[in-house]
Symmetry: C2
DNA sequence: TTGAAAGCGATACCAC
DNA sequence: GTGGTATCGCTTTCAA
């Protein structure tokens, strides 16, 4: 009895054919006569043969692997999209190599380099802004890439996402329509995060167009954690600033804000309106229910899989830009008209 | 100018040394004289050389890759643990191959097979119950495996987790102490899910010991979705069943339950107490705050990385079983004494 | 349709 | 310390 794992050669010998034939049986079964194919398959099963991925990748120059680097896997924000990306890949017998950057472009570069070394056939990133070397390496290694959670019709790289600035505008517009004039913002850290910047920029622009202003002292940045957000908002309030609505950079921040307001016994939306961003499944059960932007995470994940698999199969490297809707979901945290 | 990517050979030629030396410079720099090393590194940088993962894996029989198959990446339940697993691996220059099973042991088997083909050096799974072939394959390929989210001191495989049955007992005990006698359960689908079964079994046993009974008609199974849970609980209530507390299989189910109760205008915990499981970061901001079990997701992830890296490095294959605490967090959804 | 054989790009053993 | 080279397991021309 052989002690180590059977190889293609072992199968070939056992079936009385060449390794080339066995390889074909596995990869292009149609090209092998049925009688032979049966013999080979029998041998494969009898020996419990499983192909060796690395050898395969080395010889074929295809790893059947897609890499993704996301800011964090820690919460549901990106997890949902990644879930569908992974499912899409799995159906095509591709595997997902997942890494996280902790919202740092330098860490992202490091992870991208590592993934490229691993020989990924395609790459998924979040946002459009990346270390220049990231794009350079991807390009040099001919690895197709698609940016998610962002849409820019002039981007030099493929993207499947939504317009973050427009989404920010929608929120601002809604609040202004509800009578709010003094609006605060609790944003995620904006450095290295183009989505966060664009969202707030959308808000700022809309307000400006309406002759309003996003006052710098009403804008706070903090890590994407409910706790940090809670602190930030509490500070803002105890500092005596006046505002009737607070726009949060994502649902987690909004959750933290709501929890702070509850402790301060400030009624929502009566005294203060709150908005989130992402429409996480779980926040649907919240009370008061949260007004937020419905981010098409699932579709971004699914489409990213389809897009990359297609690039790999056809060798096509054209830039594709897909804009998905990101609609405002008006719910209880903003459903009261504010009168000045 | 060379059009394709530089290889070890190219670097060797450029530096005027052998491929063996270049390889050493990369893997055991200490064994190479400094002068030579500098020359080689200069060549590496000049050519923009990056090692080829597959070739490396083929030659060294190490892929520097760990596989994980989790039930779903869709929500925060496992994402948090995976996040820290990934961080731990990344620090050691290992990469995470992530797949999901959709809570099906057959799908899990499929994914495990795929990952093994990819040549993973270690494997992370959730729960102890897996398709027998999973263990068999892992064993045959000598891939060390660790089961997370489960602890069993007699397990034949390494595990890092907590005692699900004991956690279930804690919940039941707390509720009984608060005066509850009629308890309902909304559980996740129990087939293919040992954690769900154990939790409920813990509840059942504790009640039995106290001369109480977990009535079959008060137990509902549903997918882990807030919506499904909401429906299940509404059904239970409109069917006219009597119970003063409902134990939910995880926080997502609890969230759904709370949302149903809000719509039915049933006060929590006054008329009905509710418990969850997992202590997701985001639910901390909920109101009323949720009584739940604090699952050590972060530590499981971190320790899994450490454990597997150690197995790989030392070749040690001893079974390791780590029990982590999973404590009850008593909060508002159960903080009222129930009088019969 | 099938087989022989040349790589794919590194590692690691064995000499020197 | 350093270099030569067999080897890892599979894919893929090219001929037959």
């Amino acid at each position: 009895m052989r002690s180590s794992k059977p190889t293609l050669q072992d199968v070939a010998t056992a079936a009385g054919v060449s390794t080339a034939t066995v390889s074909r049986c596995i990869n292009q079964p149609a090209q092998v006569k049925e009688t032979l194919r049966d013999k080979v398959n029998e041998a494969i099963n009898r020996l419990g043969y499983a192909p060796h991925g690395a050898a395969r990748a080395l010889a074929s120059r295809r790893s059947h692997t897609i890499g993704a680097v996301i800011p964090t896997i820690d919460n549901g924000i990106f997890a949902n999209g990644i879930h569908y990306l992974q499912r899409g890949l799995s159906e095509a017998n591709f595997t997902l190599l997942l890494a996280s950057s902790n919202y740092s472009l330098d860490e992202e570069l490091h992870e991208v380099r590592s993934l490229i070394t691993r020989g990924i056939d395609g790459m998924v990133l979040i946002g459009e802004e990346h270390h220049p070397e990231v794009y350079e390496m991807l390009d040099r290694h001919q690895v197709p890439v698609v940016n998610l959670w962002t849409y820019n019709n002039q981007s030099l790289h493929s993207c499947i996402g939504f317009d973050n600035a427009a989404a920010g505008r929608k929120i601002a517009e809604h609040l202004v329509n509800m009578g709010h004039r003094d609006i605060a913002v609790i944003s995620g850290i904006q450095i290295d995060n183009d989505r966060a910047r664009e969202r707030i920029e959308g808000v700022r622009q809309y307000l400006q167009e309406k002759g309003l202003e996003l006052k710098p002292e009403l804008v706070r940045e903090c890590r994407y954690s409910a706790e940090q957000s809670s602190l930030a908002l509490t500070e803002l309030i105890t500092a005596g600033h006046h505002f009737s609505a607070v726009i949060c950079g994502n649902d987690i921040l909004a959750l933290g804000a709501l929890s702070a307001l509850r402790q301060l016994e400030i009624p929502v939306p009566k005294a203060l309106a709150v908005t989130g961003f992402d429409n996480l499944e779980i926040i649907a059960a919240l009370s008061p229910s949260l007004t937020t932007i419905d981010v098409p995470a699932r579709r971004m994940g699914t489409l990213a899989a389809t897009y990359l698999l297609n690039c790999i199969q056809t060798g096509n490297r054209d830039i594709t830009r897909v804009q998905l809707p990101a609609d405002l979901k008006v719910r209880e945290t903003t459903n009261t008209v504010h009168s000045t």
